[in-house]
């Protein structure tokens, strides 16, 4: 039995190490290439013979790169703020009010969440470009987030369902209106849920490629990091070292945010799964 246990332990951990190599090695190769000299990056060598840290400085000095950072932060920052503020009351109503049409409303939220963004993009673009003259900026992406986001509404509602009714009832007994109940009682209790939704939305905006491609493509001054990275690769076609340094700089904020907010993140992912 013990011998069996040991063999089992070895088999499990050997598999885990092999899997870890699959997940981690790409990062290692990217990092090693990012500090190679130009000549070496064009060869097939795997280990840098000189460590050229100045590649990172070169990337930062690339015209536009700092603007892409600024734009990504603007899009992700404002987008997250708008989404959380506008989705919370909707999620609260769907979770805690009883009214006719609640079930269809919920189904409509889920349906919108599932729809490919490409379905309505053509007429929407025409409105922003021809009527509002805002193509070439990120506003057509940021403004709609002030009007609730289906995915965030869904996640927040799942979370708000777990708040016991008694808390809300006692707040109402104390004469709190619904708005005050939401701000004073619900928001503090829903902090983990709000954090998860904020994180997801921040990552969505940071990672978004389709949106900036539609609305910001015409104006390089409005590009985000995710969008600009592709043009960076195209401009430095064979300079894999610079491209890899830029790629790591695009990934870095997401990874840093993740390590600071790991708990909220995992909670959010499990919330998306089915419960019960």
């Amino acid at each position: 039995m013990t011998r069996n246990r040991t063999l089992h332990w070895i088999a499990v951990h050997a598999t885990a190490v092999a899997a870890a190599l699959f997940f981690v090695l790409p990062f290692v190769f990217v990092f090693l290439t990012s500090v190679m000299s130009d000549d070496q990056a064009m060869s097939g060598r795997l280990w840098p013979h000189t460590w050229k840290w100045s590649n990172y400085a070169t990337v930062f000095r690339t015209p536009g790169f700092l603007d892409w950072w600024k734009n990504s932060l603007l899009y992700a920052g404002l987008g997250t703020l708008f989404t959380v503020c506008s989705s919370l009351p909707v999620a609260y109503a769907l979770a805690k009010f009883r009214f006719r049409g609640r079930r269809p409303a919920m189904m409509l939220v889920i349906a919108t969440m599932m729809l490919p963004p490409q379905v309505v993009v053509v007429p929407m673009y025409l409105v922003w470009a021809q009527q509002l003259h805002l193509a070439g900026s990120l506003w057509p992406l940021i403004v709609p987030m002030a009007f609730g986001d289906a995915y965030s509404i869904f996640l927040l509602r799942q979370f708000l369902l777990t708040i016991p009714k008694e808390y809300l009832e006692s707040a109402r007994m104390d004469g709190c209106g619904e708005v005050r109940t939401l701000l004073r009682i619900v928001v503090p209790m829903a902090r983990p849920g709000l954090a998860a939704v904020a994180l997801f939305q921040f990552f969505f905006c940071w990672n978004d490629y389709f949106g900036p491609q539609i609305y910001a493509a015409q104006n390089p001054g409005a590009w985000t990091l995710s969008y600009g990275l592709e043009s960076f690769k195209s401009a430095h076609n064979v300079d894999w070292n610079l491209t890899m340094a830029a790629t790591l700089l695009v990934m870095a904020p997401v990874v840093v945010v993740f390590f600071f907010a790991q708990k909220a993140f995992v909670e959010g992912v499990t919330l998306t799964g089915v419960k019960g």
Partner: protein
Amino acid sequence: MAPGTAPAALRRRRTRERLRTLGFLSPWLAGFTVFFGYPLVATVYFSFMHYNQIQAPAFVGLRNWKYVLQQMPLFGPALWNTLWLVVVMVALRVAFGIGIGLLVTRVKTGAGFFRTAFYLPYLAPPVAATVVFVFLLNPGTGPVNEALSAVGIDAPNWFNDPDWAKPSLVLLSLWGIGDLMVVFMAALLDVPKEQYEAAELDGAGAFARFRYVTWPSITPIVMFAVVTGVVQTMQYYTQALVAGKLASGVTVGPGSVIQPGYPDHSTLTVPQLVYSLGFQNFNTGAACVLSLVLFAVAMAVTSLLMRRSAGLLTAED
């Protein structure tokens, strides 16, 4: 209180409650109408129009529909690629997700390290992850082919070979398995331990334990993962587009007009074709027809989701 006034007071309270509900829902009601309702109606309208975004739209009846469904040469490949990805990518992602989930729940030493290592690639922004894989798999200097040729394996051309481009995208999607890993991990930890012990006492082997204990208890989560996977894969856009563009080596900025789906339309998906028709060819009518086809398929899958995975809606609803 006179008996006659009670219903009036009650009615006033009802009205107030209804207005309150409406107030709380208003951001989404407005957003849904303006950013979804309107463009959907407009998409239907434009699907019957000839409109190049310069001259005024002109009614052409079913011509756009006939063009997209019967004549457009890229419709077939795009539909086939999206279908291929929906079947292969979703199936392999779910299988791999269960495998990694099982592995992670069994690891005793360094569990935290493995969990983080397996999860991390999921966080990589899609464009960045795609750039990484185009680099790793590039036939010229890519480390993967260097390693394969060092051990004498004749390596494929990955993103540069029409037969290998989609499998390469699948590989990329398996690298980002972190989301499914967490979902399946939670599901696997919920399987009652006593059932495993009972099965072991009955002499069930590892496979039998999976088949008769694990599988029945995780089936709802598997269903959920399959349907959401199908929905996501129907939207598959960024990775396919970026991989195709970068592997083609065309040194032009984004937004430039290139034949989509390099190599040989093998990575052209339906959403890419919508973009290409609407924003590169300015064929608004055809783009809207294709949008509606995508919409119909997405709705069909979503209604399946609503029916099968009751977990999305609680019993209260």
